[in-house]
Amino acid sequence: MRGAVTRFAARDPGPAARIAGFMGHLRANGFRLGIAETETALAALATTDCSEPATRRALKSVCCGSAEDWARFDAVFDSFWRNGGRVRTKAVPSNTTPAKATREAEGQATSGAGRTDASDSQKDGEADTGGEGRLIATRVANLRRRDLREVVSADDIRLAETVARRLGAALRDRRSRRVKAAAKGARIDLRRTLRASLSTGGEPFRLKRRRRPDRPVRIAALVDVSGSMQPYARPFLAFLAGLMRADAAADAYLFHTRLVRVTEALRDEDPFRALNRISLLADGFGGGSRIGAALQHFATTHARTHVDGRTVVMILSDGYDSAPGTDIGTALGRLSKRGCRILWLNPLKGWRDYAPVASGMAAALPHLDLFAPAATLDDLAALETELARL
């Protein structure tokens, strides 16, 4: 055990600085932490003994804020305090200009072949949302990692943002027809006002009001980033990034052989850093696809909290699944029971003579509210009228 523990340099500045370093490491791994948390962490450590499990649990309780953090924490902790994966912190370059210069050139080169940098350290658990599936997935999926920033440019994102904003606006009929009691509102609620006046001796002191509540439609977008979808990755990822910036309630997921929620990562203020973070999350980008399993996973986990009757689930995929297509049918059936509307945007549909014969696509069709072609940002923008009709 002793050899595995990180050895610190002789001029180590002390425990406080080390904890601060760990906080930085957590931040680089997508934990949302401020200075206050560092203080709390130090205060917490002062109340516990110094054994490793106690330290780990104390920091876990302080630094985690959600179930996803909780599941990821142990791996990130190990990668910092044990000499497991110190390389990973440097995966976020401070300067993005070199990547930008080569992006265009590489864009063409990579579209066909795909780069095969086999990733060396898979130890620290980026993107662990799939629970037990993760280890298997990283081992089986071919270990290709691509920097998504090579695929998408800043202009794309800006353009996509406007498209996404317009699509979002088309999807929602903003206000309900019913009126509901509310603290502020245009109309006076006579019945409640009278009732309230009883407690003030018949004088209607407090006016109760009602208004038509806002019922926004939420969008949950699932983007297929498997190998067969690579030519379309550029518009779709830009669209995803744009959507997240345009709509604070939207949700984003990527899937190939497994499904990852990238909502939090994409909310990053800097669009490039956001893409960098999801390219860390989307390990195995450009590999095989298991749409059925990914949708099933979505329907049984994330959908429970994020999908309801006022959600539009938008799937961007070509429907080529390496597993039998029946899974897709059952997953979508389960999903549509939640009362959401399901759109499937398929880049292949735009082709002449295309028929949805891929078994997955055929199984999906009965559950779809809209099955439309989309291969470029312009196609997505053109959907506006169709979405308004839904």
């Binding site: 709390t40 917490a44 516990t48 649990r57 804020g65 959600s66 909780w70 603290a183 407690s199 429970r304």
Partner: protein, 286 residues
């Protein structure tokens, strides 16, 4: 005090806490921070607060959140009928300043919690059901433990309650609230822990049946169910079997199927777990 003290203290009250949860509670107590507990329904989140209050021998003040919960229900309200009565009774000599004094103030859970002589446990249950506006109120109270009533001024906390919030994912909580709290995720217990819980709660249950019940419920959770049975359901199930005089789970399929009523609460789940499936799971658990 260490995490172990918390763990053994809760164990004395019949609550078996995981090491992670014990550490989180220990920190919440020693740093005086609220603790946010998340996890599926029925894993014992609410029960933590009960056990904690029993262990600390203090009151448990519970605020059950629901959609539309407002400050008047959660913090304080003026007792209007009583104020009116006072005005009528005093006639022309009504003293307006007295009408807005503490005599006419109705304390709701949050105000009551900060004005106890002994610090109570304040349980804010299912915070994710309340509206976002209410979350904002709560943040203010949780950060300075003071409540401002315009007519009376600011009421400061006499004691700081131990605050426990629970959520099970009806909606996403705001980052601000998450950051203010310590966090622990409560999972379904593993087989060993669950057996420990069962024997703590039903010490008279025969050992063979207890092991079978836990094995059965554990494998039932692996099935594709809409609502997985929680710990409370498991305890009901064990109590039901004991009450029916069952000594072995796979002995009588009809009784087992009837007792499933304590575990499976939706029609489709009942349909999935047919007699055959239940027998198979019971056979595995034996």
């Amino acid at each position: 005090m260490t995490a172990d003290t918390v763990q053994s203290g809760l164990a004395a009250q019949g609550y078996v806490a995981s090491p992670d949860l014990a550490m989180a509670l220990h920190l919440a107590l020693s740093l005086g921070r609220p603790l946010l507990l998340e996890g599926a329904a029925g894993v014992g989140k609410t029960e933590v607060a009960r056990a904690l209050a029993a262990w600390k021998r203090c009151d448990l003040i519970r605020l059950q959140c629901y959609e539309g919960l407002d400050a008047a229900q959660a913090i304080y309200e003026w007792n209007y009928p009583r104020q009116l009565l006072a005005i009528r009774a005093q006639g022309d000599h009504a003293d307006e300043a007295k009408l807005f004094s503490e005599t006419y103030l109705l304390e709701r859970p949050l105000l009551r919690a900060i004005r106890q002589p002994i610090a109570p446990v304040l349980l804010i249950d299912e915070i994710d059901r309340a509206d976002e506006e209410f979350e904002a109120y709560l943040l203010e109270i949780l950060s300075d433990f003071a409540i401002t009533i315009p007519e009376l001024g600011t009421l400061r906390a006499t004691t700081r309650p131990m605050v426990i919030l629970t959520a099970n994912g009806t909606r996403d909580l705001s980052d601000a609230l998450r950051r203010r709290c310590l966090y622990a995720h409560v999972d379904y217990p593993d087989a060993g822990t669950e057996l420990q819980i069962l024997t703590t709660r039903h010490p008279t249950l025969n050992h063979h049946l207890a092991a079978q019940v836990v094995g059965f419920v554990q494998s039932l959770r692996k099935e594709e169910l809409e609502k997985k049975p929680g710990v409370a359901e498991m305890l009901d199930f064990a109590a039901a079997l004991a009450g029916l005089g069952v000594a072995d789970l796979s002995a009588d399929p009809a009784i087992l199927q009837a007792a499933l009523a304590t575990l499976l609460k939706t029609q489709s789940d009942r349909a999935i777990i047919t007699t055959e499936v239940a027998q198979r799971l019971a056979g595995k658990a034996a």
